[in-house]
Each structure stands twice: as C-alpha cells, then as structure tokens.
Amino acid sequence: MQKSKKVLLLGHFGVGKTSLIRRFVSDSFSDAYKVTIGVHITKKVVELPSGTSLSMILWDLEGTDELHLIRNAYLMGTHGVIFVFDVTRPATFQNIQRDLDIIQEKVKKVPVLVVGNKMDLVDPADVKRLLEENDIQSDYMTSAKTGDAVNEAFLEMATQLDI
C-alpha cells in the first residue's frame, strides 16, 4: 500500500518555497514572484530506492519570519519539515537556529531538512564563507531556477520518511 506523508515547507517569505515545489512537482519555474497566502497543497508520488512508492503531500505555507505565529492546525499530522532560506538575503537565515528551535518545539520528532535556495544568484564560495561566519549548516544548496539539487533535497526527505 502506498504511504502518504505530509511535508511542510517553512521559511521567510520570498525564499522560493513555492518555486521549489513547482520545480520538483512539474519541473517548471517562473521568475515572477507571487506571494503565497495561507497554504497551497500539492502532491507528488516518488519511487524510492527501497522499491516503495511514497505520496508526498507538500504543504506550502505562507512565508513568515514569525514562525511561532503559524497556526497549529497547519502543523497537525506533519511527518517532515523542509526549512528554506534565501542565500541572497541574510535576513532569512540570520536567526535560523531560533527558527529551527521553534519548529522542533511545534512539530516534535520529525525529520527537518535545511535548504539554502537561489544559488544561481551567488558565488558558491561567498555563500560558503557567509554561512560559516554565521555558523549555519545547510543540508542542501538549491536553485529552483536551474533545478540544481532540488530533486535530491525532496528525495532525501522522502527517504527519511520511508524509514
């Protein structure tokens, strides 16, 4: 039987959560920024190396820098979280540890992946230095625009949910 897992995408507004999902689900991208309000929910079924298939229910939540204000209803039944930040805007990752603590507090014992997006806009060496200076560890550095590392990030989450 196909398993169904709810994955939340969280992070500040404008970091590219919707674009990452669009790239992953329909392999497309748009440069136009359209604010997400509330929640958009999409689904993608992925085949895992273990041979099982997993239905990822992707909850694309409205971006906010006040994660503690997210309505609890949105968080109910969450199996995994992808926290996205924008590598071109330090405001989206300067308080990342505080943001991750809030997530762990609100959604207990679920895998959390940290993804730095918009890598196509920066020099990777600059980002590396910046993240090191701010003591930030990111699991994936992606570009929704080019598709770099997008599938890898989502598949990693799917693999962790399959365990």
Partner: protein
Amino acid sequence: MLEKYKNQFIGNSIQFVVLDDNGLVRESDNTCIPFKTGDSLKDFHPFFESLEAIAPDSKNEVTFNCVHLATNGKELITDLVLRREDDALLLVIYDLSQHYNEYQSVAQARNESIIQEQLIALKNIELEERERFKNQFIRNFSHEIRNPLTSIMSITQVLDQTDLDAEQKQMVQYLTQSNSQLRLLLEDILSISIISSGKLQVVEKEFNLIKLLDLLIFTYTTKAKEAGLKFIARVDDKLPQIVESDRLRVYQVLTNILDNAIKYTKKGQIEFTVQLNQKRANKANVRFEISDTGRGIPAEKLERIFTSFTQIYESDKEIGSGLGLSIVKGLLTLMGSEIHVTSEVDRGSRFFFDLNLKYPLPSSIGAVVKDEALDAVLRKNLKKDKYKLLLVEDDLMIQTVLFKFLSGTDRFYIELVSDGAKVMEEVVNTNYDLIVMDVNIPNIRGDQITRLIRDFPFKGIKDIPIIGVTGTVYEEDIAAYKAAGMNAVLPKPFAQEELLKSVFKYLR
C-alpha cells in the same frame, strides 16, 4: 424576509459535507463544489489525504484558514472546518476567495516592499564596504608612495646644485615642477578619500579668526605678487576676534579657493572679502568671498566643478588634479555650509560661502584668558635670557613666517636649515635648546631625524625638545610623529600664539 436576505448574502459561499472516516462523501449540499455520494475527497484534493491525521477525534472543531482548493479549473480560497459528529465527520467549506484575493494583493505589495528594502540595505552595505576598501587602499598607496617621492625630490634638488648646462637646468626645473604637482595631487587624493570615508571629524575649538585671516592675507598677497596679480583683502572690522570652529578646515577651504583663483587668473586681481552677515546669541554668520578676474567658467560646466577629478579644460590637467573644489565642497558640507559660485567667461569667478562660527559672549572670559595666558607664557621665568633654536623648514615662505613668529619675542638665536641631511650635523656641532622642524623636508623626513636624535647616545642631544610642524590633516600621522619622539606636533596653519606656547612649554 430575513431568511431570504440571509440566503442571498451567504448564497453560494458555505457548503456542508458529511464524510465517513475514510473520507467518502455521505451527504453534500454542493453549494460550492459538486460532490456525489461515495466520492472520495482524497481523490479530489491532496489536503484530504491527511484527513486521518488532522481530523478531530472528539467533538472538537479544527479550522484550516486560507486553504487553496482547485475545482473544475477554478481556484477557491477557503476556510475549512472539520468537526466530529457521532460516527461521521462534518466538513464545512467557507468560500472566502474574494476576501483572500484582496488580502493577497496587500500581502504582495507588503512583501515586495520588504524584500526590496532588504536588498537595498544589502547593496548599501556592499557599496560601503567597497568605498571603505577603496579609501583604505588609497591611503595605504599614498603613504607608500610618499617615501620614493621624497627621494625623487631630494635627488632633484641635489642634481640642481651640480654643474648643469642651460638645457639640463631647464629639465631639472620641469622635474621639480612635476614633483611638486605629484606631491600636491597625493595630498588632495588623501584628503578626498578621508572626507568621503566619513572619517573626518570636525573639531571645533576656539581660535583667533583675525590672526588666521592675517596669515592668509600675508601668504596670498605674496603669492599674487609673484604671479603678477593684485591682491585686495577686505576684512569686516565687526568680525569677532575669537571664534569657535575647525580652524584647520576653514583654512583648507580658503586656501583651496584662493590657490585656484591665483592659478586661473592671468591678469588683474584677486579679491578676498570676509564680512559679518549676522550676529545672534553666540553665533556669528560670516560670509567668505573670493573673486577673481580670471577666465571664468562656462555656465554648462558650473555644476560639474565640484565633482572629483573634474577639469574645465583639457589643458588644466597640467596645473591641477581637479580635486580642490571637491575637497572644498566636502569640508563645507561637514561644517554645515555650502559653496556657491557665479562666473562669467573671460570676466572672472566669484566663490562664496556662509559659515556659522560660535564666539564667546561678551560675558565669557575665554578670549581674555587666552591673551593673558600667552603673556604669562612669554613672561615665564626661564633660566636663560636667550635660547639657541634650530628652525628646520624648506618652504621659504613658511620659513619666513616662522622666523617672524619666533624672533618677535627676542628670546632666541635662530639657525635656519632647509635640508634634512644637514640637521644631524647641526645638532651635533651646536648645543641647541630646542628644534622646530617641519616633518616633510628634503632628504630625511623630520620624524626620521627625530628618531635618530632620540637614539643618540649623548644626553644633551638625545633629549633636545623637538616641536614638529606638519601639513598633514590626519590624527594618526600626528600620533606617529609623536611616537617617533617629537614633544609636540602643530598642524599647519597655526597662530603665533600656539607656536610660542609649545616652544616655551619645552624650554628648560
């Protein structure tokens, strides 16, 4: 009637659906979305795939705000309420698309504006960093270039004293002129970089305005005469004598404008007018005006003359860096003033600015105390009637001024030296009581000579008081000269009073 209006109002916006625990439709009023009995909501929208996890297990209600649901190619933005009712699940769908679409527009504008602000702030940080790097680079580079430049100037002077034929003499003259231009350019670049870096602080202190103006008038009367020009000075006798402002910056502004006036005037006169506009409370608003009968500036170029490296004509590159007026503008902005210019081609230019200068109220004793303090200094009970003083300065005009300042007291035997290489010989052969030395002199710089003297093994030489004089505008340079062993460092221009106070302080 009420029921009719109520139905019209809520009309197609609320739908009730009864579901079983597997998400299959039992009943639906199909107000917003058409469902058939037995339809699986899990197939309708992925939201309902999480139903088991999100449905309440008791009579509690759970509300999901602003959930986007697509149906028949149309997107609804809804609030969804799930409620447990006996053995069934009640789903209430509120279609709030209109309300949420309005909110979407507001959120879009707000977020775009915040993102833009963040990106602009980042850009500004980057620009500031670049500017800082540029200014630091210029400062380091300029400091590094000073020493080889001093060597070139010294060698040129030595060369000039050798046996040269007329053509060679001419070439050495060109070399000397080029060296001077390069040195001035270097100082200007340093000034502009420190102004634009924002590191320049206006230091407001009391000083004698009349004496500063006297010094300028003396200097520029001489310079104008050398250039075959007439110099007319008009100083308002209502000007307060002692004022509070940054004397060094006022001097820098005025010398830059006066130098330009002389540089670009071939015949006629330079007029320097200082006039009291207004005196109020303890502030005097003073107008400084410099006009010339030079070639003037074309109207279309007037706006650009305060931009760095701007020259009016291509040929001007030979006589200036194009930084002077940019420095003037920067300094006046720092002092809360603004430079104005009017000009007519072939008739001349007029530059003026108004400066607020604080001055002590008549009840204040500051000015009186100042003069009394100087008198007291001059009457200081010293061991000797006259002291041997070595004056090291290569600029003839400054040498004359300093000599006048010092000899006026009748307390010194003064020996003049203009070459750094000759200072040590003088110091060793004559028992000087004090040295007044320019830092930037040919062959060996004043701070280097100071180090040599301080390292000298004999008492009586190694502890001679040394007063440095310098054209530098940087605190860190002054600190470095003091660290080299100078007892005091006076940045030019300084009044006679300041020089004498420093000198008498260190006489034994």
